[in-house]
């Protein structure tokens, strides 16, 4: 059976109206947007912890909520595993009892207890109380508890938001692992771009209670209008390009070679085997443009392409979209240069350029929070 979560709901509050409609399939769907956009509220409505006023919610074809048919399934019968921002462990129970609290459901388990416990690396905590655990450990237990309730889909409400940077780095690989291990739809609410870049297969961009756009992660997040929603207009957002690739080889001296749709890119050390998928973020201001093939430079990455559109960014700068694979390049690369340079180089749509990128400015998975 196809794993699919289908949502189309509205909820009216005195100063806010939520109207969310989307579908999420197996893999991670990130619900991204500024705070106050209604992301958490959407998740709570789906889980049945808040009431939508109108619409329908379906999981794998089963209606959970349908105002037309007067269906409101209570949260305990919705088959979601929910991970909240705070771990919400039961303080009076051992970790083991916390983990098994939801496994009374008469459904086929996703995996047995031991596998989930070792997947999350919490074997050594089983007989302790939540009180004695670190924030990261608690959140791992919360994830395990959700998985052990045999859910048909996972809802994660900013599960890393309450953790510091180190703890976040500690947990992200576990979430990646469960995404690979279980073919579940995972709805992942976040306002952190880095988490989304690392985890999401597709993104839903939410603003003021509405899903304004959605699509595959790289493509959607590389769009300027999406970036201005996420970062706010006031910050005169600098365009960001996200490109995905696979680790092709590891050089000595730590350099890692990544195959991307633009050709090979060299980045500083990243974890992982050859073949591992990763995403690279490139900030527009880190790019140097040349109208001739560069020689004799320390630069490790040169991307050949043609100029697509050019948009003004403030009074003195211009953002240039470079298409490494000609028209319809996905993704295309944003570069920010001064108007002065653009004029001197005679840049115009269609002109051939070489984009120069120092290897050290390429941010990969491990550089969480480098940008936000």
């Amino acid at each position: 059976m196809k794993n699919q979560l289908s949502v189309d709901i509205t909820r009216r509050l005195p100063n806010f109206e939520l109207a969310a409609a989307f579908e999420a399939e197996s893999g991670v769907t990130s619900l991204l947007g500024p705070s106050g956009a209604g992301k958490s509220m959407t998740l709570h409505c789906i889980a049945g912890l808040a009431d939508a006023h109108h619409g329908r919610i379906e999981l794998n074809g089963t209606p959970l909520f349908n105002t037309g048919a007067h269906i409101i399934v209570p949260p305990e019968k919705r088959e979601f595993g929910v991970v909240f921002q705070d771990p919400r462990l039961f303080p009076h129970m051992s970790i083991r009892s916390n983990l098994t609290y939801g496994s009374t459901r008469a459904r086929e388990p996703l995996a047995d207890f031991d596998e989930i416990v070792s997947l999350l690396d919490i074997q050594h905590l089983l007989n302790r109380r939540p009180h004695h655990l670190s924030g990261g450990e608690k959140q791992r237990v919360a994830i395990g508890r959700a998985l052990l309730s045999s859910p048909s889909a996972l809802l994660m409400d900013e599960p890393l938001a309450s953790l510091d940077l180190l703890r976040r780095r500690e947990i992200l690989p576990f979430i990646e692992r469960l995404k690979d291990r279980f073919k579940l739809p995972i709805l992942y609410v976040s306002h952190n771009l880095d988490e989304t870049i690392r985890l999401a297969d597709q993104v839903l961009i939410m603003q003021a209670g509405r899903i304004v756009t959605s699509g595959p992660t790289e493509e959607t997040l590389s769009r300027i209008e999406v970036q201005s929603i996420l970062f706010g207009e006031a910050h005169a957002p600098e365009p960001l390009t996200i490109v995905s690739g696979h680790i092709a080889e590891r050089h000595d001296m730590g350099l890692v070679c990544v195959n991307t749709p633009w050709g090979r890119l060299n980045t500083p050390y990243v974890d992982g085997e050859v073949g591992r998928k990763l995403r690279i973020r490139i900030r527009a201001r880190d790019i140097i443009l040349s109208t001739r093939p560069p020689t004799d430079l320390s630069i490790r990455n040169v991307i050949e392409g043609e100029v697509g559109l050019m948009t003004e960014a403030g009074t003195s700068q211009v953002d240039v979209l470079i298409r490494p694979n000609g028209e319809g390049s996905k993704p295309a690369l944003w570069a920010r240069i001064t108007k002065h340079a653009a004029t001197e180089l005679n840049l115009a749509p269609g002109k051939k350029v070489w984009a120069l990128l120092k290897a050290v400015v390429l941010a990969t998975d491990i550089d969480l929070d480098a940008l936000t």
Binding site: R78, F90, P91, H92, Y101, A146
Partner: protein, 234 residues
């Protein structure tokens, strides 16, 4: 046999315990329900209920006893009905004294339980629901255990208050040895009789020991529960 207490003192002591224990146990389910309403439910007239619950605390106890007499006296409709239907005669009976104990301890009980219910993080109840728990299972497995220290503290406070109850009791059920004469009432009688002030200290001592013992038990059990509940060392 060397008996530190006289026959009359034993009778008063046992009656006191009986009245207070029965009163508190009867009050407990109501106290929990009302504390739950006040802590977790918003409804019109909540302020009114809150004030009504606090009444026995601020009203002169004799006035409370008088109101009870007017309500449960055999000539009052409700008292008449209870007596005719269930043979329950509260006036001038130890059951009436237990009712007084329940009512006088009620505000303290409700307040304490309410406080403990308000400190529970109800996010974890939501979490329990998403894990498949019905509201009832969540209540039994999460809310009851977590409010246990408050439940215990509220019960002990109400019990201690009931042990010391005087005004409403004497107004409602009188001062009948072996029937309604609890420790404070016995002390009052002793002080009223000539030369009684010399004997009074024994009853004061018993009352004080009883109060200290109940507080000590509460403290001990409370600590144990808190350690059980959170696994913390304090």
């Amino acid at each position: 046999m060397l008996d530190p207490l006289s026959q009359a003192e034993w009778v008063a002591l046992i009656l006191s315990l009986q009245v207070a224990i029965v009163g508190v146990l009867v009050a407990l389910p109501f106290g929990f329900a009302i504390a739950w309403l006040l802590a977790r439910v918003n409804f019109p007239g909540k302020f009114l209920l809150d004030s009504l619950v606090a009444m026995p605390l601020v009203l002169p106890p004799v006035a409370t006893g008088y109101i009870l007499l007017m309500t449960f006296g055999l000539n009052a409709p409700l008292g008449h009905f209870l007596h005719e239907t269930f043979g329950l005669r509260l006036v001038f009976d130890w059951t009436g004294a237990a009712l007084v104990a329940a009512i006088m301890g009620f505000p303290l009980m409700v307040r304490t339980i309410r406080l403990s219910l308000e400190t529970i993080d109800y996010g974890i109840v939501d979490a329990a629901r998403t894990l498949g728990a019905t509201p009832f299972r969540a209540f039994i497995t999460i809310i009851v255990p977590l409010s246990l220290p408050g439940l215990l503290a509220g019960t002990v406070l109400a019990f201690a208050r009931a042990l010391g109850e005087f005004g409403a009791t004497i107004a409602f059920v009188g001062n009948i040895p072996g029937q309604t004469q609890t420790l404070p009432l016995a002390l009052y009688s002793v002080l009223q009789s000539p030369g009684g002030d010399a004997l009074g200290y024994r009853l004061v001592l018993i009352s004080a020991l009883l109060a200290i013992a109940s507080l000590a038990v509460a403290e001990f059990v409370g600590r144990f529960l808190r350690r059980k509940l959170t696994g913390s060392e304090q």
